[in-house]
């Protein structure tokens, strides 16, 4: 029975991790976005979002993008996506569009952030729109980013706790 109990403790741990992952993957499918939930890392969108807020992102490849929308885009050569507001939209009759973005709290538009030679964003650069947000919750992610050891300490503690405690 001890072998079985041990196997069940491992399965239990696996199920806890799996539930989190399945919810994450499920959200990916429902929102259509590769990263349905992201944490705001900079203060460039204050007072709308602050560092540590959680954003819910959706991705509609065919949906309209209008001035005033808050979009998530990726610059070539950069890993981290940026969440800023659309300032200008130029659209041709055939549907081709280009966009200019700017952070609410920045004094200049994002041209300084785009790749060298790039003055506009195209539809393919935009990976989603911000649809909702939860304040403060993402502070834990920022802490774990700034102090990576904290990540391992928390994970190790949780892992040991789940494996050792026998549930009722």
């Amino acid at each position: 029975m001890n072998k079985r109990q041990m196997y069940y403790q491992i399965l239990n741990f696996g199920m806890i991790v799996s539930t989190a992952l399945m919810i994450w993957k499920g959200l990916m499918v429902v929102t259509g976005s590769e990263s349905p939930i992201v944490v705001v890392l900079s203060g460039s969108m204050e007072p709308a979002f602050h560092r540590g807020d959680l954003l819910l992102l959706t991705h509609e490849p065919k949906g309209p993008i209008r001035v005033g929308d808050i979009v998530v885009f990726k610059i070539e050569g950069r890993e981290i996506p940026i969440v800023h507001r659309v300032l200008k939209v130029h659209e041709k009759e055939d549907g081709y569009a280009k966009y200019l973005t700017k952070g609410d709290n920045n004094s200049v538009d994002d041209r300084g952030l785009y790749a060298p030679g790039q003055y506009w964003l195209e539809r393919k650069d935009i990976i989603g729109k911000a649809k909702g947000f939860v304040p403060y919750i993402g502070i834990v992610t920022i802490l774990m980013n700034d102090y990576p050891q904290l990540k391992y300490v928390i994970l190790a503690t949780l892992g040991i706790f789940v494996l050792v405690k026998r549930e009722n």
Binding site: Y8, G14, S18, M22, K25, M28, R166
Partner: protein, 192 residues
């Protein structure tokens, strides 16, 4: 007419169990463990794990769905993996739902199962336990005896104060003599 030959003798390899007497979870686990040892050490009794195996199989299936979804998404990133993810995520949660139903309605707190062969007859014993909600110092033990098609159930409710002393040490003698008494009563009930 055969008589139930269960003994309340304490097996030598049973360590003294000392727990924090206010830790209700540890109390229940201590009684469950000692009770399991009681049942599995009886003459002509062989421990079986059919209920627990069922739980392990269902859990394993759930985790396999999850691993498949994660692996497939790793090899063929979203959005190609969309269909696989939908199917696996749905299947995962359905399987976890089935697991919850299984533990609530089929396993029902069973912590020990044995098969007893006595005089060419086969008896299936099951011990199930739970604690009364909001009254965790009461241990509710159910003994289930299945012979052929008949199932006899006997439920007793005892305060844990009867089996643990002030230091939180389990007094096995008291516990085992009660268990032997309840099992005999269950066994005799089956004739009626």
């Amino acid at each position: 007419m055969s008589k139930l030959s269960f003994t309340s003798k304490i097996p030598e390899d049973l360590d003294e169990t000392k727990i924090d007497k206010w830790d209700w979870n540890a109390l229940k686990n201590a009684l469950d463990d000692a009770g399991r040892k009681f049942l599995t050490n009886q003459k002509d009794c062989q421990e079986t794990h059919s209920l627990m195996n069922g739980r392990l199989i269902i859990s394993t299936i759930a985790v396999l769905f999850s691993l498949y979804a994660i692996g497939y998404d790793y090899l063929y990133p979203f959005p190609e993996s969309k269909l696989v993810i939908i199917v696996c995520v749905a299947s995962y949660f359905v399987t976890v739902g089935i697991l919850t139903l299984y533990t609530s309605f089929i396993e029902k707190g069973c912590f020990a199962q044995v098969v007893q062969k006595l005089d060419n007859k086969t008896f299936y014993w099951k011990f199930l336990s739970k604690q009364k909600p909001h009254k965790e110092n009461f241990y509710v033990l159910t003994i289930e005896l299945q012979h052929g098609n008949k199932v006899i159930k006997k439920t007793v409710e005892k305060s844990v104060a009867k089996y643990f002393d002030e230091n939180g040490v389990l007094v096995v003698k008291n516990y085992y003599s009660d268990l032997e008494k309840f099992c005999s009563q269950t066994f005799n009930d089956k004739r009626e």
